[in-house]
């Protein structure tokens, strides 16, 4: 009996310790944002004496913060939408039609999951330059779509392959074309797989950094991660102000995560498990 109690207490102690490890950095960042500069330099670990919301207020109203949010929303939403359209069409073709070079082409897409993005950065700058899209959100969107496609096609193809062919054949007999089958039969069925693709890409792209760092120079076009990087190089000496900015910047995603944690956890990991 005492052995059981002891084992249980050790278990929960360990679990609690890992809660601290996982959350303390975020918690500290938030409380640090509530302190004044003098308080932070005096006492870094402690809780704030009083809650000074001034830093948060300053970030929200005196800096470019809202621009970053708007940019992130525009870029992420457009990229996810385009990805879903292109990937579900291609996933359907790979799963349900036969054509010469099908598996080769599929592997070409699949390889995209393994490609280090650094190999494309220098040429992309040139390509977008010649398209007159240098330093624009469109350039960022197009790169995001291109790099989101492989895993998205992979997930959707896997789903379409699992749909019983009888459904499709029934629709065919009723006179549906390939496009009709896709639109009226497959796409409605694929809603759960589309949800996974949307969540995976949304979270990944919302937090994306390298492409934004490379392709965007104008500060007013920065997404949230790039904006935070620039904010920290500019105001990094003001630790509480930076902490407040970082805290606000993660708030939208944290809120979504709190309400949809099951879907997000599954969305971010099920692509991997299908490998």
């Amino acid at each position: 009996m005492t052995g059981r109690v002891l084992r249980q207490s050790v278990l929960y102690l360990v679990l609690a310790a890992f809660v601290v490890v996982a959350l303390y950095p975020v918690f500290w960042m938030f409380t640090c944002g509530l302190k004044t500069r003098t308080e932070v330099s005096r006492d870094k670990w402690g809780l704030p004496d009083a809650w000074h919301w001034e830093n948060f207020h300053e970030v929200l109203y005196k800096h470019r913060f809202w621009r970053y949010v708007v940019n992130s929303v525009i870029v992420t939403v457009s990229a996810v939408l385009l990805t879903v359209v292109a990937a579900s069409l291609a996933g359907f073709a790979f799963a349900r039609t036969r054509f010469r070079g099908r598996s080769l082409l599929f592997y070409v897409f699949l390889a995209g999951m393994m490609i280090p993005v650094h190999i494309v950065l220098i040429p992309l700058l040139k390509i977008f330059g010649s398209l007159h899209l240098a330093d624009t959100r469109s350039a960022l969107v197009m790169s995001y779509v291109a790099f989101s496609l492989p895993v998205s096609i992979f997930i959707l193809r896997g789903f379409f392959e699992g749909v019983p062919t009888e459904l499709e054949e029934a629709a065919r007999i009723d006179g549906c074309s390939a496009a009709g089958v896709f639109w009226h039969v497959m796409l409605p069925l694929a809603r759960p797989a589309v949800a996974v693709v949307v969540i995976f890409n949304f979270v990944t792209l919302w937090n994306e950094f390298i492409f934004a760092l490379t392709l965007i120079n104008t500060k007013a076009l920065a997404t949230i991660p790039l904006g935070m990087w620039e904010f920290s190089t500019e105001y990094g000496r003001d630790v509480p102000l930076t902490c407040a900015a970082l805290s606000i910047s993660i708030l939208p995603m944290l809120l979504v995560y709190v309400f949809a944690q099951k879907h997000i956890i599954r969305g971010l990991t099920s692509g991997a498990l299908r490998g």
Binding site: V19, W28, I115, H118, I119, E168, V196, V203, L268, A272
Partner: protein, 302 residues
Amino acid sequence: MNRYARPRTVWLFLVPALAFYLSFVALPIAQSFYVSLFDWPTHAAAPARFVGLENYARLVNDGVFWKALSHNVALVVLSLVIQLPVALFLAALLSGRVFARGFFRTVYFTPMVLPTVVIALVWRQILLPATSAGLLTQLLAWLGLPSPADGFLGDPRFALLSVILTISWRYVPFHMVLFIAGIETIPEELYEAARIDGANARQLFRHITLPSLAPVVRISAVLSIVGSLKYFDLVYVMTGGGPPEHVTELMTTYMFKIGIDQQTIGYGSAVAVAGFLISMLVVVAVMCFRWHRRPAVTEVHP
């Protein structure tokens, strides 16, 4: 399977994806190979000079690149050694009968939804030297333990390890969730049968959980290896590859410095191509290893 779809229709389905993929993935890769064969002047006015493999000859003799590669190897090895066991440990803890399991899983997973930039900036504060009131140094001082005078990121002995531990902090929960999902697919009957035979908890883990998890562990390992070879974000923001002497330089941060920051695009492309080829070589090697004894892949339906 589909007798009815005409070839033309099939291509219509593929065109949008192909257009994006060819223009912004395939074409740039080919261009990188091409660009790496030239010496490009920093000012656009002068023409590029064909130099053949000169950039690669320079690469082979570039100590910094080899150093960066060795750091990538360290990242691969330490990620496997640190992340997978910790993730397995947490997954095992959370797979038993645990009160508020979902809560713990959700909390542990939080680092995975945060932007790497934010993680890097916060951990930089934690790892600062005592003179700048670093959190960890203060904690160690309170415990009566020494810490490096220049902070964990400023000291060449600790910088790389600190960065790798921060990376692990972010990615452990990812592997943990994969393992939990894997454990959930193990049929309960296996455990029951073993319990009837008198197996204890440790034996159950050793002889049922671990072997059944092998395919998932292999997936985790592949993802971890591939990810470590192309890693960039946290290192770039936390140290920029420094402190000065390239102590935490990775292939990607080095490429970024040369090709993007300094605009030396010929040599920068050579570094990028080398990193690409090394990554792909490892991917192919790992995949072949996997195909040799193909596991029953865990399918998690969305």
